[in-house]
C-alpha cells in the first residue's frame, strides 16, 4: 500500500530543486539548530548536511529525550529497579544508558525485573497480570510522549489499578528553547522546531517564546523535502531580517495543536522545574502528577529523589546537546565510545547526535 504523501516528499527531483533554491538565497553565515532527535537522524540519513551551502551550519540541540535525561534521573531509575517488589517497564532506548555505577541492562543481567515495552498500556497490562508487584513505568519523553503517559495514568485510575506507577522524567521543549537562547555561549540564528512535539502543542505553543526572543522559528516535518523547506524558510527569514514563527508542516501541525491531548496533560500533570543534561535546571520544564494522580507518582510512593550526579568522565554530551561541540570534537568518540560500548547517552540512543554521526558520517 502506498504510504500517504511520503513518496512525494521523498522525490529526489523536488529535493534537488529546493537545495538549489537554498544555494541561491543563502548569503550570510547562519547556525540553525534542530531540536528533535528524529530530525537529527533524518538529516543525517538523507545526507542533507553535505549538500547545503557552506554558509549554513546545522547543529543538533537537546532534542533526544534519552540524551537530555539527567545523570541523577538515570541513577533514580536504577534505584527503582533494585526494589524487589518492582517490575520496571521502560522504552528500550533507556536500557543501555550508563548511570553512575550501573545501567538498566546490567541490572537486568543481575536478575532485576526490567521489561521493555512499546506503549504505556503494556505497563498497565503488566500491572493487571502481576497483582502482587508494583509496576513502574519510566516516563521519559517530550510533549509527544507525555500525553500517552497521561492517558495511561488516567485509565489506571478509572480501572482502579493500584499497582501501576509512573516515574515522571518528562521534559517540555519551549522552556528549553528559552534556556538555550538565554545562554550566552549558545549562538543560534534559527530553530528547526520539532514536528511531533508541535503536533501536540501546536504553533501556538511557541508563541510566548517567539514573542520574547524573536528568533526565526519554523516547525518542520521529517521527509527530505520537509526539512529542506524548513531550512529554506529559515534562510528567507534571516536574509530578509524579519524573524517569524512559521509552520512548514501544516499537514500534521495545526495552530492550536491536539487539544484533547493537551487537556489530558493538564488534568494529570503540572509543570515543575527539571534538570537537563548539559543545560542544568530549567524552570517549569518538567511534569509531575497533580491532584488525585499523585497516587500514581513513583517518586512519591517509593520516596525516590534524583540526586545531582556527575556526568560520565570525559563525555561531552552536555556540550553537544547545546550545540557547543560536535561528536568528532569529543576525544572519546569512536575510540573509547562506540554504539557497542557507549560512554554517554548521546551514543546510546538511536536519536542521539553521537550515534547519528557514528552511523552516517564516515569521513571524520
Amino acid at each position: 500500500m502506498a504510504l500517504k504523501h511520503v513518496e512525494e516528499y521523498r522525490d529526489p527531483e523536488l529535493s534537488k530543486k529546493l537545495i538549489d533554491r537554498i544555494h541561491t538565497i543563502s548569503q550570510t553565515d547562519v547556525r540553525l539548530m534542530e531540536v528533535c532527535g528524529t530530525h537529527t537522524v533524518s538529516i543525517f540519513r538523507s545526507g542533507i548536511r553535505s549538500i547545503l551551502p557552506k554558509s549554513i551550519s546545522l547543529l543538533s540541540g537537546p532534542g533526544c529525550p534519552v540524551c537530555v535525561t539527567a545523570q541523577g534521573e538515570i541513577d533514580a531509575f536504577i534505584e527503582l529497579a533494585r526494589n524487589d517488589n518492582v517490575i520496571l517497564a521502560t522504552f528500550g532506548d533507556l536500557m543501555r544508558v550508563p548511570g553512575t555505577s550501573s545501567s538498566l541492562l546490567k541490572e537486568k543481567a543481575d536478575g532485576r525485573d526490567i521489561r521493555v515495552v512499546y506503549s504505556t498500556f503494556d505497563g498497565i497490562q503488566m500491572a493487571k497480570d502481576n497483582p502482587g508487584k508494583s509496576v513502574v513505568f519510566l516516563g521519559v519523553g517530550f510533549e509527544t510522549t507525555a500525553p500517552t503517559v497521561a492517558a495511561a495514568i488516567f485509565s489506571a485510575r478509572q480501572m482502579n489499578i493500584e499497582n501501576f506507577f509512573v516515574y515522571s522524567a518528562h521534559k517540555l521543549v519551549p522552556p528549553a528553547l528559552e534556556a538555550l537562547t538565554d545562554q550566552e555561549n549558545v549562538q543560534v540564528n534559527g530553530f528547526i522546531l520539532p514536528g511531533h512535539v508541535s503536533v501536540i502543542i501546536g504553533e501556538a505553543g511557541y508563541q510566548p517564546f517567539f514573542d520574547r526572543h524573536r528568533v526565526p522559528c519554523v516547525i518542520t516535518g521529517f521527509e527530505p523535502a520537509d526539512i529542506l523547506r524548513g531550512i529554506s524558510m529559515l534562510v528567507d527569514q534571516i536574509e530578509s531580517g524579519s524573524p517569524r514563527l512559521e509552520n512548514a508542516y501544516p499537514r500534521a501541525v495545526s495552530h492550536g495543536g491536539n487539544e484533547k491531548a493537551q487537556r489530558l496533560l493538564q488534568d494529570v500533570f503540572e509543570p515543575v522545574d527539571a534538570v537537563w543534561r548539559g543545560i542544568g535546571a530549567i524552570p517549569g520544564s518538567g511534569l509531575k502528577m497533580r491532584g488525585p494522580y499523585v497516587a500514581f507518582d513513583a517518586a512519591d510512593h517509593f520516596q525516590i529523589v534524583a540526586k545531582a550526579a556527575p556526568e560520565p568522565k570525559g563525555c561531552a554530551c552536555g556540550e553537544i546537546l547545546t550545540g557547543g561541540k560536535t561528536p568528532p570534537e569529543c576525544p572519546l568518540f569512536r575510540t573509547r565510545c562506540t554504539p557497542m560500548a557507549p560512554v554517554g547517552p548521546c551514543m546510546v540512543s538511536s536519536e542521539g547526535t553521537c550515534a547519528a554521526f557514528y552511523r552516517f558520517h564516515d569521513e571524520e
Binding site: 500517504k4 511520503v6 523536488l14 532527535g37 519523553g141 500517552t148 511531533h196 499537514r251 491536539n258
Partner: protein
C-alpha cells in the same frame, strides 16, 4: 520513538484502532484523538494515534514546494 510515517485506519473498536503501517497491522489507541474514522490517515506515537493528517494542507504544501522548485528553474533559465 516517533513514527513519522502516516498509517491508515482500517478498523475501529471503541477506543482502539487497527492500523496498517506499510502492510503490517498494528493496534493504536484513539484516546488522544477526536473525530476519527476508518480510512483516515493518522500519525502514531508509542501506540497512540496523535494526529489525523490534514489532506488539504498536505496537498497545498506539495503544490507550494513544486512552485518553489519551478521558481528555481526559472531563475536558472534567466541565468542567475
Amino acid at each position: 520513538m516517533c513514527l513519522a510515517i502516516p498509517s491508515k485506519i482500517i478498523r475501529i473498536d471503541d477506543l482502539t484502532a487497527t492500523i496498517d503501517v506499510d502492510g503490517v497491522r498494528r493496534e493504536a489507541s484513539l484516546m488522544l484523538l477526536e473525530d476519527v474514522q476508518v480510512d483516515d490517515w493518522v500519525i502514531v506515537h508509542a501506540g497512540f494515534a496523535i494526529h489525523k493528517i490534514d489532506e488539504k494542507s498536505a496537498k497545498e504544501t506539495l503544490d507550494f514546494l513544486r512552485e518553489a522548485a519551478e521558481l528555481v528553474d526559472r531563475l536558472e533559465r534567466d541565468g542567475r
